[in-house]
């Protein structure tokens, strides 16, 4: 331990840790715009500069390793002036349209303007002009609001292994964009939205479907149904002051009804359905010498990534549609039929923690007879917006139950929201399918938690099933490369695009650190701990769906409605 003096008070620091970490532990607030937990410091924004005894200039605390006793002044007049001037410079090159910005009141730049008391335009001058990029079905880029912190570039490259954007040009003319500054849609972008999550300003946002949803809700001819993904109910409460990780599925269901949705379904129901299909597919592949390892297919960013960057692995992907698309398919077939509604009159909305789901819903394979299975996808953040717009506070709305026939879920389906959840649910059901018996212990601790790569071996009737769970596509790349280089021990791999899974998805509320993500996960684990129905094959509604409509897993109808195919894509990554 090294004892350093922070603003006149002694504090114990870990030798070698970056000063910013020490300051945070000491409860000293130093702002940053470019810091990304877990990645090398970039030192670009200079907001975290402090005065260190014996050093001439101001030192960025994010990149200063503590090695010896020293004296630090975090808020000296010089440091505060520098910070304020930096913010003034940023604002001087920022479009003054906060009132119309998606990030209004949820913006790090606004917060800094407020904190540092910027009340004057001291450095007026010419502003950089850039064109908005509306080409992507998932993400809207507005480079004029960009502060060039570079977090999106680093997340895209270093965490996700995609690298479809980079800095272009130099100096004050630099901006962030794709190759040749083309639209995001022709780039290798997988629509994961991790760039949106780390963006401190409104330069990146999801492409909003709120206007379409509002129009549908107003349209008397439309029957508007809605589904919500497993990870949404444990995150949406954050926006209403509820504890991080608290499950508010009931209140959310109530609120969605008050918004005017005709039916509220739970995507966890089709997560259970996915498990029935996917576990069957796995067992089928294992027993019939099918292509292994089988790769999960719930995460649409991952799917596009395989299609673009690892087309040779397309055959390893499970053919199951994602739970969102399975729900979309059964709504516009079984449900429409049951309720005697023309599928054209159903407007099917999903609420997802994800921006890539918007892309997925728009894929041509996800349409039948010219009708899209899902008509609109709202992110968790858009849901919050919609609730605010209608004066609904989740802390106040009484809990209600989801609608039949797709409202019942098990905790297995709910676990889909966290990395490793699909694997746990699949193991539970695969074991039952192969042996006819339930597992003695449902919880597979090895696949839980925030690690990017998790592995486990499960004994199924004397047969060892080797599984891996990966989240964050950078980790997936490394695993796929190992497999390409001959690694052959794995049977089944769960891949989630976002680090930690859907709880940390690109459509989730801003400002969550690793700790918050862990608590969101904990919320899901808590449900699994408390509730009694913990296996997908024990979901009574799923059983009924098979009995009344689908027959059995992998049946002809299942294949038609619940399975899909993938195509190699050429993209300028």
């Amino acid at each position: 331990m090294v004892t350093i003096e922070i603003n006149g008070r002694p504090f114990e620091a870990e030798p070698g840790e970056m000063l910013l970490q020490t300051l945070r532990r000491a409860g000293v607030q130093v702002p940053t715009l470019c810091h990304l937990e877990g990645l090398l410091p970039s030192g670009a924004c200079r907001m975290c500069v402090v005065e260190i005894e014996g050093q001439r200039g101001l030192i960025p605390s994010c990149a200063y390793p503590v090695t010896q006793p020293t004296k630090v002044r975090t808020h000296s007049a010089r440091a505060v002036l520098a910070r304020r001037t930096i913010v003034e410079l940023l604002v001087a090159n920022h479009p003054d349209d906060c009132l119309y910005c998606t990030r209004n009141q949820d913006c790090q730049l606004q917060d800094l303007v407020q904190q540092l008391g910027v009340r004057q335009r001291r450095y007026a001058g010419e502003k950089s002009r850039h064109i908005m990029d509306m080409s992507s079905p998932s993400i809207v880029r507005e480079p004029s609001k960009c502060v060039l912190c570079g977090k999106c570039v680093r997340v895209c490259e270093e965490v996700q292994g995609v690298g479809c954007i980079d800095f272009i040009g130099r100096g004050s003319r630099s901006k962030i964009g794709t190759a040749f500054d083309d639209g995001l849609n022709v780039s290798g972008c997988i629509n994961c939205g991790q760039c949106v999550v780390v963006c401190p300003t409104g330069a990146l946002a999801e492409r909003s479907h709120i206007p379409e949803v509002l129009a549908a809700l107003r349209d008397p001819r439309k029957r508007v149904v809605v589904q919500h993904a497993p990870a949404v109910s444990v995150t949406v409460g954050e926006a209403f002051g509820l504890p991080v990780g608290a499950d508010v599925a009931g209140a959310m269901t109530g609120a969605l009804r008050r918004l005017g949705f005709d039916r509220v379904f739970d995507t966890s129901f089709t997560a259970d359905l996915t498990i029935m299909e996917e576990a069957s597919e796995l067992v089928h592949r294992l027993q019939n010498g099918g292509r292994l390892p089988m790769l999960t297919s719930c995460s649409p960013g991952w799917i596009k990534f395989v299609e673009t960057s690892y087309p040779e692995s397309i055959g390893n992907l499970s053919t199951c549609k994602s739970p969102q698309q399975m729900m979309g398919a059964v709504i516009k077939s079984y449900f429409a039929n049951r309720e005697q509604i023309d599928p054209h009159d159903i407007y099917s909305v999903s609420i997802m923690p994800c921006t890539a789901k918007k892309f997925e819903a728009a894929r041509p394979e996800m349409m039948r007879h010219g009708v899209a299975d899902i008509d609109a996808v709202l992110t968790t953040r858009e849901l919050v917006q919609l609730l605010h717009m209608h004066g609904l506070d989740l802390a106040e709305v009484p809990a209600e139950n989801a609608d039949t026939p797709f409202g019942e879920r098990t905790t297995a389906g709910k676990l889909f929201g966290a990395s490793g959840g699909v694997m746990e649910a699949a193991i539970r059901t695969a074991h039952w399918m192969v042996t006819g018996r339930e597992l003695e212990a449902f919880t597979v601790d090895a696949v839980r938690g925030m690690d990017g790569v998790k592995q486990a071996s499960v004994n199924v009737d004397g047969l060892t099933l080797n599984v891996a769970v990966v989240s964050g596509l950078g980790n997936a790349c490394r695993l796929l490369d190992q497999i390409r280089d001959g690694r052959s021990d794995l049977h089944f791999i769960e891949v989630m695009t976002c680090p930690g899974g859907c709880v940390a998805g690109g459509g989730q509320p801003f400002g969550a650190d690793v700790d918050a993500v862990r608590r969101r996960m904990q919320g899901l684990y808590e449900l699994d701990r408390q509730e009694s129905v913990r296996t997908s094959h024990n979901n009574a509604s799923v059983k009924r769906l098979y009995d009344e409509f689908l027959g059995q897993p992998l049946s002809h109808t299942s294949h038609e409605l619940l399975h899909t195919h993938y195509v190699p894509r050429d993209a300028l990554a």
Binding site: A44, P60, V147, S172
Partner: protein, 663 residues
């Protein structure tokens, strides 16, 4: 043996031919006085020939560096060759580098057997025939003769001054430039005959790497690229670092506008740099080295390629250097044009194939640099100092200079000065000596205003500080810095606000854009200067108010950029403004309060009028005016509409009777 050697001189410059050269070096190194007298004589003859102490036929040396070529040296060379062919004169024509006196280019030296070598200036192609007619028969045309080289045994010419008496050369101490313009840079044996590679041999045979670092540290050599960090100390960090690979990088990305020292050294004496690099690599334990050089220097790159091939063929590079187990490869990397790549971490990123954006330090490159390995980055001049330094010792080196700055410094002297070129002076020389003695003062009877030193990161030295020493610390006291060696002289016709604006524009364009203070701050600073120099014609709304408003915040802005920027480029970015503001505040005030540019440079602040007595009504000015601000009929008096005039000065340039007046 001698004949064999002579044969080789005309042999094509292939690796096979080079492979025989080390005989000369090994003879020099291993001569313990026991060798046969006849053999010794042969070698000594060879060396005398290479040093041109004895000639059998005339030798004509043409300064063919970039600046010489720019002044027409190639044409001069062609005419010389044609002359020799036509008159069937047997003479050696040698392309040498640049001796440094750019303003006298093209420079041609002629040495005829038995006599000293004479330098002739401004030998353009039309003067060649007359010159050769005279010199080859032993006459020296006074008009062209600049000076003769002093020589111990050769007979001097009467009435021709010696080079070391010439005002340009007399105040100089030429260590790094010792061979520049004298030897053929494409011949390794000339370098060896002038003492080259013997320092390297001494180091790898007699010194441990740590001892080399000690020696360099003791000499007080400091980085010549601008920072001034003690070179030996830096080497020690890398020398002591444990790693499976280390790198040496020679920074030849001479980006400062107004600096060309590195180019001239490489073009004129590339082996000095190569030898310095091999010694440095030995000292730090690097087995791979890079020379990061600007792509705008094609000739320097070519010379380096030749030098590296020769050194490798002579086992002065590559495997088992000079028979030891020390190996080194040197690769040339061409910079792609980014000033910020002068910054160490940006340069590393550039070599790695990335955008040249700096990263925070620590970790310092000496511990974690190129590809994550310990890396030492030294500037060309620093490395070129090394061979002579280690050969003659730390004490010899440190005997010259000031208490904190040892040795010499090379400057590129340019701008409004009579003699421009490459200058090497002892540390402690005054700026006045450089400008007025070496440079010959301001031409055309104009008044000295300032000298800009240190490039965009540096500052200006006004009249009252002309007697300041060239020394890392002294220069800082007047808000300037040593920098890499650009010295641009300005006279009363230069506007200091305009100069500040030029540098801000440069820095603003060259900022990498990574950190906010530098990216956004330099841009706003430039805008402030642009507003100051803006005429009323283009102002509307509250522009005039903004103009004052922004000046008020210049100080806060400058401080933040200096304090909070990521790299040296940003930290020093406000210097051009702060420095000119410090010494030429009155000029700023004239611009701000009176909208008047005292030097008559800032176009929008100029007013042009037509002298009714001189105007002939030729209409030329009206025709050429880009904004149609001049009215008048043919043969009638013309008139300039002030509101339309943008101050471009075209009318002034085209008016034949001189009727346009500038105020």
């Amino acid at each position: 043996m001698t004949t064999k050697l002579l044969d080789r001189r005309t042999a094509p410059a292939t690796a096979a031919a080079f492979a025989t050269y080390p005989e000369l070096l090994s003879w020099l190194l291993d001569d313990d006085g026991s060798q046969d007298q006849a053999v010794r004589q042969q070698w000594e003859d060879r060396i005398a020939e290479l040093r041109r102490d004895r000639l059998v036929r005339p030798a004509i040396f043409v300064g063919a560096g970039t600046c010489g070529l720019g002044a027409g040296a190639q044409e001069t060379l062609d005419v010389i060759r044609a002359y020799l062919d036509l008159h069937e004169v047997k003479a050696d024509v040698i392309k040498v580098g640049c001796i440094g006196l750019c303003s006298a280019e093209p420079l041609v030296d002629i040495q005829i057997p038995g006599r000293t070598r004479v330098m002739f200036q401004q030998v353009t192609k039309d003067k060649v025939n007359g010159l050769l007619d005279a010199v080859l028969v032993g006459q020296i045309p006074d008009k062209l003769a600049l000076a003769q080289h002093r020589h111990a045994t050769l007979k001097p010419w009467d009435d021709v001054p010696f080079l070391d008496e010439h005002p340009f050369f007399a105040p100089q101490t030429r260590w790094v430039l010792a061979n520049c313009g004298l030897i053929d840079p494409a011949q390794i044996d000339e370098y060896i005959a002038h003492g080259g590679y013997q320092a390297l041999a001494k180091m790898v045979r007699q010194y441990t790497p740590a001892q080399v670092c000690e020696l360099v540290e003791a000499s007080g050599l400091r980085g010549r690229g601008g920072g001034g960090f003690p070179t030996g100390t830096k080497w020690k960090f890398a020398c002591m670092a444990k790693s499976d690979g280390k790198y040496l990088i020679c920074n030849a990305d001479e980006g400062d506008p107004g600096a060309f020292m590195d180019r001239a050294v490489i073009e004129s004496d590339p082996h000095r740099l190569v030898e310095g690099m091999v010694i440095a690599a030995y000292a730090i334990g690097a087995t791979k080295a890079y020379i990061y050089i600007r792509a705008e220097y094609p000739l320097a790159i070519k010379r380096l390629q030749v030098a590296l091939a020769q050194a490798e063929a002579n086992r002065l590079l590559g495997e088992n250097i000079l028979g030891t187990d020390f190996n080194l490869q040197i690769a040339i990397k061409m910079g792609a044009g980014a000033f910020v790549c002068g910054e160490e971490t940006a340069l590393i990123h550039s070599i790695e194939g990335r955008r040249g954006m700096p990263r925070p330090r620590p970790p310092f490159p000496a511990l974690k640099g190129l590809f994550g390995k310990p890396t030492i980055i030294n500037n060309v001049e620093t490395l070129a100092n090394v061979p002579m330094l280690v050969d003659r010792g730390a004490e010899w080196f440190s005997s010259l200079g000031t208490p904190t700055s040892k040795g010499t410094k090379v400057f590129a002297l340019s701008g409004k000065v009579a003699r421009t070129g490459l200058v090497e002076v002892a540390m402690g020389t005054t700026v006045r000596q450089i400008v007025f003695n070496v440079g010959g003062g301001i031409p055309d009877g104009r008044q000295y205003k300032a000298v800009q030193i240190g490039g965009p990161s540096g500052g200006c030295i006004p009249e009252q500080h002309l007697d300041i020493d060239i020394d890392y610390e002294s220069l800082k006291t007047v808000g300037a810095m040593m920098g890499s060696g650009g010295l641009v002289v300005m006279d009363e016709d230069n506007c200091m606000v305009d100069v500040a604006m030029f540098f801000m524009d440069f820095i603003q364009r060259e900022s990498c854009g990574k950190c906010i203070p530098c990216r956004e701050g330099t841009r706003r600073m430039l805008e402030i200067l642009q507003r100051i120099t803006r005429g009323r014609q283009r102002e509307k709304g509250i522009d005039a108010l903004e103009r004052f408003h922004s000046v008020l915040h210049l100080q806060d802005l400058a401080e933040t950029i200096r304090d909070a920027s990521l790299c040296g480029l940003g930290m020093t970015a406000p210097n051009p403004v702060l420095s000119t503001l410090r010494f030429f505040r009155d000029e700023y005030e004239s611009h701000i309060y009176e909208r008047h540019c005292p030097a008559g440079v800032c176009a929008e602040l100029l007013t042009f009028t037509i002298d009714p007595d001189r105007c002939k009504g030729c209409t030329l000015c009206a025709k050429k005016c880009p904004t149609d601000a001049i009215v008048g009929s043919p043969k009638q008096l013309h008139y300039i509409v002030a509101d339309k005039c943008i101050g471009c000065g075209t009318c002034l340039d085209v008016c034949k009777p001189g009727a346009v007046l500038k105020n």
